[in-house]
């Protein structure tokens, strides 16, 4: 079949053609950007934190009432013994595997970030990193994968007030930091300097992965984390607890009575005092999931409306051209020829729409990059979008085209 008669016929419906093509272009532009956003968000939500079996973990945040000041040494000692008593009580609970004092957890959106340099008193730090503080049980409790060196032992652990300015002696870093600072490998045994300090901190181990505690918006900070053997003392404490498999709820329920028995003068927030890690994770990614759902709904509505629009307009054309179709059939065109005619016509219009749509899609993406720090959309998304609108057009045109092919030749002889 030649394209020539189709184009000639379309010339008589310029406005309709332009409107359908424009709609397909808009659909393509919006749908491929939306799918790109959905894809990015789902990828982000699914990235592992580096913690093994993280759904068995929960976090306790509590604050002592009338606690001694962390600004004098006697107060610090008192706070530390209070924290040790809590830890002992938690570790003794029947459903608990282990517990460790910790400053923060991945995805908590509250944590501490500092600089790491390679030279003493370095003016500008080489990298920014998350600083996690915990004791010898932190690594096994979190379930981090140690890939070089050793874990902390109880002899390594120092305890300090939270706003202490002295630097820790030892550190465990993540592989991404090791790769960045020591590209030749062998990070274990090397020294680093924290926050432009003059005192060295020695790396004793490397873990595969540990996600950031703060919202890093996808920067390299996401995977730059360091763990220090320090039990921090303050008027509040955080403890990460690993429950026995399947015993998470029981373990979480046992926490309040156990801690109030140790010392009733404390606050454990009703809502956030004892939080499962699953809850922390869900909260951290709620916005991303919400955006993915919203974009999916928009795509669905848009595709349905475009399909319905194509059906509507093609149906109208078929009705309008009953007579011409009859004439063609009388002159020997088969049903399949009529079907193909409308399918090819739709392919042409959708093709023009897709061509404009590609430009619109890239333009929209560029606009989002400039104004909303969005990433550049890979070409594959545009190709998926083009394929989607072409298939959609063919599917939508099929019903009216079938009806057209069923127009009997005798129509040609009837007066309209």
């Amino acid at each position: 079949m030649t394209v020539h008669p189709i184009i000639a016929a379309l010339r008589r419906h310029k406005a309709g053609v332009v409107l359908i093509a424009l709609q397909i272009a808009l659909t393509l532009a919006i749908v491929c950007n939306a799918i790109f956003i959905i894809g990015q968000r789902i990828e982000r939500v699914n990235q592992p934190t580096g913690m093994h079996e993280e759904n068995d973990l929960f976090l306790i945040t509590q604050q002592w009432v009338g606690a001694p000041s962390a600004d004098d040494p006697a107060g610090v000692e008192k706070l530390d013994s209070m924290q040790q008593a809590d830890l002992a009580a938690l570790r003794n609970l029947p459903d608990v595997v282990s517990a460790a004092p910790i400053r923060s957890l991945p995805l908590l959106h509250s944590g501490s970030v500092g600089g790491i340099g390679l030279k003493p008193l370095q003016q500008k730090d080489t990298i920014d990193s998350n600083f996690y503080y915990g004791d010898e049980q932190a690594l096994p409790t979190l379930g981090l994968q140690l890939i070089a060196g050793r874990a902390f032992t109880s002899a390594d652990i120092q305890h300090k007030p939270m706003r202490d300015q002295s630097e820790p002696v030892l550190a465990i870093i993540t592989q991404p930091i090791a790769d960045k600072l020591f590209p030749q490998g062998n990070a274990v045994g090397k020294v680093i300097y924290l926050d432009s300090s003059s005192t060295p901190t020695t790396i004793v181990g490397v873990v595969a992965r540990l996600q950031s505690a703060v919202d890093t918006a996808g920067s390299s900070l996401t995977w730059y984390s360091a763990l220090f053997p320090v039990r921090q003392d303050a008027n509040f404490s955080r403890t990460v607890v690993r429950a026995k498999p399947g015993r998470l709820e029981a373990a979480m329920l046992a926490v309040r009575p156990a801690l109030y028995t140790v010392n009733p003068m404390r606050v454990i927030d009703e809502e956030h005092g004892v939080r499962s890690f699953a809850d922390i994770r869900a909260d951290a990614y709620r916005a991303d999931l919400g955006m993915a759902i919203l974009m999916s709904v928009v795509c669905l509505i848009l595709l349905s409306i475009t399909a319905a629009g194509i059906v509507g307009l093609t149906s109208f054309w078929v009705g309008q051209r009953q007579r011409q179709i009859g004439v063609r059939r009388t002159l020997g065109a088969r049903k399949i020829d009529i079907l193909h005619y409308f399918q090819l016509e739709n392919l042409l219009i959708a093709g023009i729409g897709a061509a404009i749509g590609i430009l619109l899609a890239l333009g929209l993406n560029l606009w989002l990059i400039i104004h909303f720090e969005m990433d550049r959309m890979p070409v594959i998304y545009v190709l998926i979008g083009v394929l989607a609108v072409l298939v959609l057009g063919q599917a939508a045109v099929f019903v009216p085209a079938r009806r057209a092919s069923n127009v009997p030749p005798v129509v040609a002889t009837r007066a309209v």
Binding site: L19, R163, D269, A287, G290, M295, I305, A308, F372
Partner: protein, 438 residues
């Protein structure tokens, strides 16, 4: 005449129910999607204190120098203790307050109950009149209480309900961090969103309520530490909360009321003079690089409106546009199918204007029907975003009269616009042609 067109339109729409339903649905979905995202956008981009926002200013002092600036050359978005105290002491604005976020514990009088945690701010007395904070009982404290570091507290109506059963608690005492504080005021419901006086610590929006306000210097003296963000460009040389006060770390929010441009200019000059003096005395090794933004500009600068909200609105508007193009196409088909009818009307003497009136009436009826259906879908949409969006933002989106009116207006106006071109085409129908071909 309008009644006649109405009748014609309804008859025409009933003749092709499928096509009519399709157009109504298209408009309804397009309008509902954009109105739902708009309700979220409106909620987060609203002015929290519209009668006064142009008079409220947030000063920023560049106490870190070139190395501490972001790539955009901006100074820190909060203040260190020294600068905040100096600005309070100099007292150059009509009203002003330094503030920091606190999270003290409250010990209930009933010994059988566990202590509770509350959140709030340590502020100066001028905080309350400056932000027109509404009181249910009592009032804020006095400037004397500020200097005396008095043990007084202003509590929220929610906390008043919890501790005193909602009765007038002014004069009663509350145990905060083990010390007794006298209640001087109880707030009426006050939960501004965004939390404009301290966006740095709240990130703009908050599901919590500000339960307690303590005098700033009192909180410092008894050592109630800051519960918000602390940003440092260098490690403090001393330990503890006192060490933080002596450091250049920023953790204090600041707001000043300046009633006119002259006052704002004078205040900016004062800030630059202050920084200049510090440069002269060698404390700052750089020229003044301060900022003084009014509240709307400050909220904008701090990106209080999440970019997801803007992108969603944009995408939904794109969807609405696609829906309108779709409707225009369908209307075009529908109107031109009636060329012969138009031909007859024109031949009988109807002017073009009459054709316009008739078909635009038909388009606006579709718009109205789409708008009514869109209203319901918008209602469903606003309820649904509560499930998918972050709680602090979703809680703000709601359906009200102005949103409903806007939904209907957008639907009708947009559909009428979409009907313009098809109507134009319909009005160009040549009567002779149509009559002849029949």
């Amino acid at each position: 005449m309008f009644a006649y067109y109405l009748e014609l339109a309804i008859r025409s729409l009933r003749r092709s129910p499928g096509l009519t339903a399709l157009m109504v649905l298209t408009i309804a979905f397009g309008v509902a999607a954009s109105m739902t995202t708009y309700s979220v956008f409106r909620a987060v981009s609203g002015d929290p204190i519209p009668w006064k926002s142009a008079k409220l200013f947030v000063p920023q002092i560049d106490n870190w120098g070139p190395n501490g600036r972001g790539s955009d050359g901006e100074p820190p978005n909060a203040m260190d203790y020294n600068d905040a105290i100096t600005l309070m002491r100099d007292h150059r604005a009509k009203l002003q307050s330094a503030m920091y976020q606190i999270s003290p514990s409250i010990v209930p009088a009933d010994a059988s109950k566990h202590p509770i945690n509350v959140s709030g701010h340590a502020v100066y007395s001028e905080f309350f009149p400056m932000l027109d904070v509404p009181f249910l009982y009592g009032s804020g404290w006095s400037a004397d209480d500020d200097t005396q570091r008095a043990a007084v507290v202003v509590i929220s109506s929610k906390l008043n309900q919890k501790l005193f059963g909602g009765s007038n608690s002014v004069g009663k005492t509350v145990n905060i961090e083990g010390k007794d504080y006298r209640v001087v005021g109880v707030l009426n419901d006050w939960n501004p969103q965004p939390r404009f006086f301290d966006v740095v610590n709240s990130g703009g929006f908050s599901t919590g309520v500000e339960d307690v306000f303590l005098p700033f210097q009192r909180a410092i003296t008894v050592g109630i530490p800051n519960d918000g963000n602390t940003n440092c460009n260098a490690v403090p040389t001393e330990s503890g909360f006192v060490g933080l006060q002596h450091s250049a770390c920023v953790w204090i929010a600041y707001m000043a009321e300046l009633d006119d441009t002259a006052a704002a200019t004078a205040y900016k000059q004062y800030l630059d003079g202050y920084a200049h003096d510090l440069q002269q005395s060698g404390h700052f090794g750089w020229a003044p690089n301060n900022r003084l933004r009014d509240l709307p500009h400050w909220l904008d600068n701090q990106h209080v409106v999440p970019s997801d909200t803007k992108v969603s609105l944009l995408v939904a508007l794109g969807l609405l546009l696609a829906c309108l193009v779709n409707t225009a196409g369908l209307l075009l088909a529908k109107f031109l199918r009636r060329s012969s009818e138009i031909g007859v009307r024109r031949a009988l003497g109807a002017p073009r204007l009459a054709i316009y009136a008739q078909f635009l009436t038909e388009a606006s009826i579709i718009g109205l029907a789409g708008g009514v259906l869109g209203l319901m879908l918008t209602g469903v949409g606003v309820v649904s975003v509560g499930w998918v969006l972050p709680k602090d933002i979703a809680a703000l989106a709601r359906v009200d009269f102005s949103l409903l009116t806007l939904t209907l207006l957008v639907a009708v106006i947009a559909t009428t616009l979409a009907g313009l071109y098809p109507t134009f085409r319909a009005s160009r129908v040549q009567p002779a042609w149509q009559l002849k071909s029949n």
